[in-house]
Amino acid sequence: MLRGLTSLTLAFIYLPLLVIFLYAFNDRRSLVWPIEGLTTEWFGRAIDNPGVRDALLVSLKAALGATLIALVLGSFAAMAVARYRFFGRDAISFLVILPIALPGIVTGMALNATFRNLPEPLGVDLGLFTIMVGHATFCIVVVYNNVVARLRRTQPSLGEASADLGADTWQTFRYITFPQLKTALLAGGLLAFALSFDEVIVTTFTAGPDQTLPIWILNNLSRPNQLPIVNVVAVFVILLSMIPVYFAAKLSGESAGGGATGVAGGAR
């Protein structure tokens, strides 16, 4: 019975994906059912399309940048919270989750207004940098949760033992703390990457003239001639992402609770 329910749920999850897959081969431009003919024309068009390639590049760069920032900030905050006691410690978890929990349109509007109204010397143009900043803000929680979960399961006494043996702060970090965190950071980083890659609402407000892949899709969904190419792109991304997702899953399995958030907040 449990197995049956599980299969049903999986079927429910994959049905729309099958639809996307099917329509990538549709030989008509409009979204009618049933499909009348199949063609692989769109695959060639998608590969040739410079817009797709540029958007993909921007998305990758933005996701990379956002992930790096989130890794640094998230692990710093996590180390502080897991290993020390200080005033306002409980509030940190709350603060960190806010960017993901509040509606994307609010975060987008707020950041957009800030970027546009900064005084000249600090002034930034909306573009790749601001996309990264926007994404990093809600990616921090992903890394944070992974690292906190991991730190809770490892003993601080190891660090103290290392100090007793004469290691300084950097050495302790390099030889003791970091190896413990490695897989948690990797899992968190991979999931932050996924979050950033598919985000659309905040990006709309912070992208300026640059197009990430979701923005490109948004622009092209309203152009009937481009619709099938969009389906092809979607299929492509899903297939390509099987590898990193598999690794993320394996690593998340080790830091059980931490894996979940990484996934959360993805398709905004």
Binding site: P16, K250, A260
Partner: protein, 301 residues
């Protein structure tokens, strides 16, 4: 202690790095400070600061003659939101559907999460995790368009139900509920799976030994233990539905909070009004987060 380590230090061979690290070792508060400074300054200054300014704008107003925003503090926007009942309706509708989506996702996620946590072999488990995660990489927009194809008048659902003389819900509130439940399902499955995994099997066995049949164990033992994880998952299903405006536009003609905010920011240039209405979902989420924290959700994310 400090004197003995001072005595041990060789004055000439001491590198600045080492000296710094010793200094840090002796000043834990400074360490915390340094660790916290980057993330906090980012989040507090950049993020919260931006939010604060945005909500300050809620008290300004739009001058209809110049169409410019005037820094005239007052409650006019809130008054308008209160007086016209369409905003109340939209708010309740959004919250209602968000709640419905959350409940649906809990019901849908539980069986598969339980299977993954307690019944599946480790290899199957890994495969299932991948299977659940993979759809998230399919673009949100494309998935919603796929649902359009499924739900439209001559779409897949109606075509499938036709032989039985039934027909699908078409577009509208039901469609948005369906699509949202679909989109956020993985965000519920994973925390619940993680939470269930943490329940020791011995507990389940003990409950069985004490005479608890399947459903009883589920209700009395498993559910309470899994509650924090469920709460954690619900944070995402609820908040994501609350703020979304793209799906309602694509599979219905009804307005959600996000649609109203979005439309007021554009040509209308009415940022104060948009900000005022945007406060509503923010308040709702803050309350929700506080409750969720109480239940222990934050440890289960």
């Amino acid at each position: 202690m400090s004197s003995s380590s001072e005595g041990l230090e060789a004055p000439s061979g001491e590198s600045p790095g080492r000296r710094l690290s010793t200094f840090l070792f002796r000043h834990p508060r400074l360490r915390v400070g340094l660790l916290l400074a980057p993330p906090l300054s980012w989040l507090l200054l950049a993020y919260l600061g931006s939010l604060a300014v945005l909500f300050l704008a809620a008290f300004w107003r739009l001058d209809p003659f110049t169409s410019q925003v005037v820094h005239d503090y007052g409650f006019q926007n809130f008054q308008q939101l209160w007086e016209s009942d369409v905003y109340r309706r939209i708010t309740f509708r959004t919250i209602g559907i968000a709640a419905a989506v959350t409940v649906t996702d809990v019901l849908l996620a539980f069986p598969i999460a339980f299977y993954m946590a307690k019944v599946a072999s480790p290899r199957t488990r890994n495969l299932l995790v991948v299977a659940v995660l993979l759809p998230l990489w399919g673009s949100y927009l494309v998935k919603v368009y796929a649902w359009r194809i499924i739900l439209q008048e001559n779409g897949i659902l109606n075509w499938a139900l036709d032989p039985f003389g039934l027909s699908g819900p078409g577009f509208g509130n039901v469609a948005t509920w369906l699509v949202f439940s679909y989109l956020w399902l993985p965000f519920m499955i994973l925390p619940v799976y993680a939470g269930l995994e943490r329940i020791p099997n011995s507990m389940l066995e003990a409950s069985a030994d004490l005479g608890g049949k399947g459903l009883r164990t589920l209700w009395r033992v498993v559910l309470p233990l899994a509650l924090p994880a469920i709460a954690a998952g619900s944070i995402f299903t609820f908040s994501l539905t609350l703020g979304d405006y793209i799906t309602p536009q694509l599979v219905s003609s009804t307005q959600f909070i996000g649609n109203v905010v979005y439309i007021n920011v554009g040509v209308a240039n009415n940022l104060p009004f948009a900000a005022a209405f945007a406060i509503v979902p923010v308040l709702v989420m803050v309350v929700y987060l506080l409750v969720a924290r109480r239940v222990g959700a934050f440890d289960n994310l």
